[in-house]
Assembly symmetry: C2
């Protein structure tokens, strides 16, 4: 193999593999479980460990950013090119809870390498994916002979992602000046599978709503009053039943306003993915697919907005029977949103739709939780193409495109910074996020190193 | 006043008033709460007290009938006319729980007379109404000069009515020979109000059903899978929403098969009742009426079958939100039935209707509880006219007709004995059944004595 930049990166990565894995294992040993107060000090230790490691990597600026909860780590490495674009990498250093008795084969906080995989809580979500950036930037310098990256590089690694990022948006707003970037790279997702490297182009947004209907002042006897007063549980069921039309479309007027429709190009690329319905149904623990007519399963979960009941309740739910007309009933709805939809507009539409359908004699309370915006980077965006090229160089194969059906704090960065969000996730579904025996495939982890080693040059060129 | 039978009855009743009330008070002092095991012995004491009292009244046969739960009291007084019709009176000697701290002004088991009312648990429901039969039959003999009643009189006073009569049907079936009667008189209901004496002509039946729908094998993430798998809570809501048509009629095919429609005569008599919607809504704790188009509120609760949700539940119902597609959802439905409807047919119809509407990929479980039949005695039935005449003689005013919207064990007697069931209830809505400060109006209680004093002669004539 000639001494091309790609082969230099590969060789550099191989040479530093052992030390890199030893370092990652050391980080995984810190049980930075943000959801468990007894690990508060471990989360802080994790932040300090990462900050020191980033200094050692060469970042001239590393800071611990306090929040009312767990601390985040910020690092910055200015480019030697003053015209270089600014790139902000997002990840998190906290992890999900884990205990041996949850079904782990080994101690979740004592990482082991077995069959080419490193097992340990956080190996994939998200320490492994944050960590490949450290060796990646060194490989980038080694391959290009530069003394500083081709982009102005910033890292923000938060400590509360597994607890719902309660202070993340406030942190981003407060530090917006320091975080300002031309593009955000989120390293906290995954790719299709081991053999199908993909780039995620967006996540759905989320609007959540609770509707409570009140009928009689207290539960009343269904013999004495049944058939002659409004039943709030029935009224609620009618509301929920009216959420969708017979084609599975959300029937709330105005709900689809502004929706960015899938392009034929993106549909064609989705269709190239090796989707197997039986496998997907197993993952979904479901017996059948369902949903909006005219769309494939992947299109439904990635690119179409939805309305789902997350919970419903009212009246007597215990054993046996109790012949009452319930005093009240409640439904928790969540709406996944796609690019082009405005959460505030959706909330207003849902409220108007619901209020118009509540029968006489039934009082209501409709409350919305803070919404999460959708985010989407168009396929032809130069930064997205740069990510795909960097990944293609590392994997040596065609890169396809996915989206995520879920919603995440990345959208806050898009919102606050006004920058497009790209997803560079080098993890696979079998990595077991949040479950026992979480692992990372070492080969893929090193592809992550290589991808980021190529990425800064690709982005510098693409965004010039 | 001349020495007519009616005046003899009135005089006899007045003469025995004090002893009668003292006796009732003694019975009310026995806290025969069938729902509370610590009162098991009190329930037995109550049965023994009543049995002894009935012997003292003159019933030649009095027996304690054991059940797997609380004992019932049976008494029999053969007529001196061998051709006389056989009448079975039904009541119960157990009472609802009661404690001073529930809001009673005085000890619930230490009866007091205040402002022409006797306060105490069971005063109206149902000891008072059982007890007026004791003085009533003596007044009947005194007024007619007979040594035995004009009808062959049987009394069955159960001890588990306030606990749902779990052994009543089995008892009735086992003792069907002893209980055999031409007509059943139930003294466990009420009349319209203090100024409007009424006879109840029927009760609705009851079929209860639980429908459980299962979607994913466990709750799954609504971001990853929302919009692409069936949601059992949504499916359940659609089922419930389809229960009624836009006119408020139950939309289950076959549900109305056999329904005995209201006659114009009965509608006209219902319309004579001094119904006040505002007052009724207060009782119903509701802000509006609702229901089947084309029927008044009283017609809806008394004479029309219904489908009501008693409880619904599925997914996350706690505080905040949890973005899941629930694994399952459940609804408890109850159907009130009217004369002519067959509970088994309704159950089959509901099952077929539900099963036809469950979407692919959703499994279901539908279970029915034992049903209660409706009962109705036509207005022109001679026994019903006899009850109305007896009541009219006691009250000196026109007797109107009502029904009960609820369901009760009386239907079991209709079923098992094949005899029409009539309701002689001399209690008013303000008597506070099941609540604190339960009371009986002494004037009405004595009208009950007079009514039963007239009833046996009226029935003997009517059924000859």
């Amino acid at each position: 193999m000639s001494n091309t930049p790609d082969s230099v990166v590969r060789t550099y990565t191989e040479q530093h593999r052992t030390a890199f894995l030893d370092d990652l294992a050391a980080w995984l040993r810190i049980p930075s479980v943000s959801a468990q107060p007894e690990h508060d000090e471990d989360v802080r230790r994790s932040a300090e460990w990462l900050s020191a490691k980033l200094s050692g990597t060469g970042f001239p600026v590393t800071e611990i950013w306090e929040t009312p909860g767990a601390p985040a780590v910020f690092a910055e490495w200015p480019s030697d090119d003053p015209e270089a674009p600014v790139v902000l990498v997002y990840g998190h250093h906290d992890v999900q809870p884990a205990a041996r008795e949850d079904g782990w084969s080994t101690d979740p906080f004592e990482p082991v390498i077995r069959d080419g995989r490193m097992y340990g809580r956080g190996a994939a979500d998200d320490k492994g994916q944050v960590f490949f950036h450290t060796l990646g930037v060194r490989a980038h310098l080694a391959a290009t002979g530069r003394s500083a990256p081709a982009v102005h590089l910033k890292l923000l690694v938060e400590g509360e992602e597994e607890s719902g990022s309660p202070h993340f948006r406030a942190l981003a707003e407060e530090r917006a000046g320091r975080l300002a970037a031309d593009v955000v790279i989120v390293s906290d997702t995954g790719m299709w599978d081991e053999n199908t490297p993909t780039v995620c182009t967006g996540m759905r947004g989320l609007a959540e709503c609770e509707i409570e209907l009140h009928g009689p002042a207290q539960d009343v006897h269904s013999g004495s009053f049944g058939g002659a007063v409004p039943n709030p549980a029935t009224a609620l069921a009618r509301l929920v039943a009216a959420l969708h039309d017979p084609d599975g479309r959300v029937a709330v007027p105005g709900f689809y306003d502004g929706v960015t429709e899938l392009t034929e190009t993106e549909r064609a690329l989705f269709a190239e993915l090796p989707f197997d319905e039986a496998t997907w149904l197993r993952t979904a623990a479901s017996q059948a697919t369902a949903g909006e007519a005219g769309y494939s399963t992947l299109e439904r979960v990635w690119a179409r907005p939805t309305a789902e009941v997350n919970g419903i309740g009212g009246g007597y739910q215990g054993a046996g029977s109790k012949t009452v007309i319930p005093a009240s009933a409640l439904v928790k709805l969540s709406f996944r949103l796609v690019a082009g939809q405005d959460p505030a507009h959706v909330q207003e539409a849902v409220r108007a739709w619901a209020e118009a359908r509540i029968p006489a004699g039934v009082r209501h309370r409709i409350t919305f939780s803070p919404a999460t915006r959708p985010c989407l980077t168009p396929l032809d965006h130069p930064a997205l193409q740069a990510v795909a090229r960097a990944m293609g160089r590392a994997f040596g194969t065609k890169i396809l495109f996915t989206r995520e059906g879920g919603s995440g704090p990345a959208a806050d960065l898009q919102d606050v910074l006004g920058a497009p969000v790209l997803f560079l996730g080098i993890s696979v579904p079998s990595d077991g996020w949040h479950g026992p025996d979480e692992k990372v495939e070492l080969d893929l982890l090193l592809k992550g190193v290589e991808t980021t080693a190529h990425l800064w040059g690709e982005l510098a060129t693409a965004l010039r």
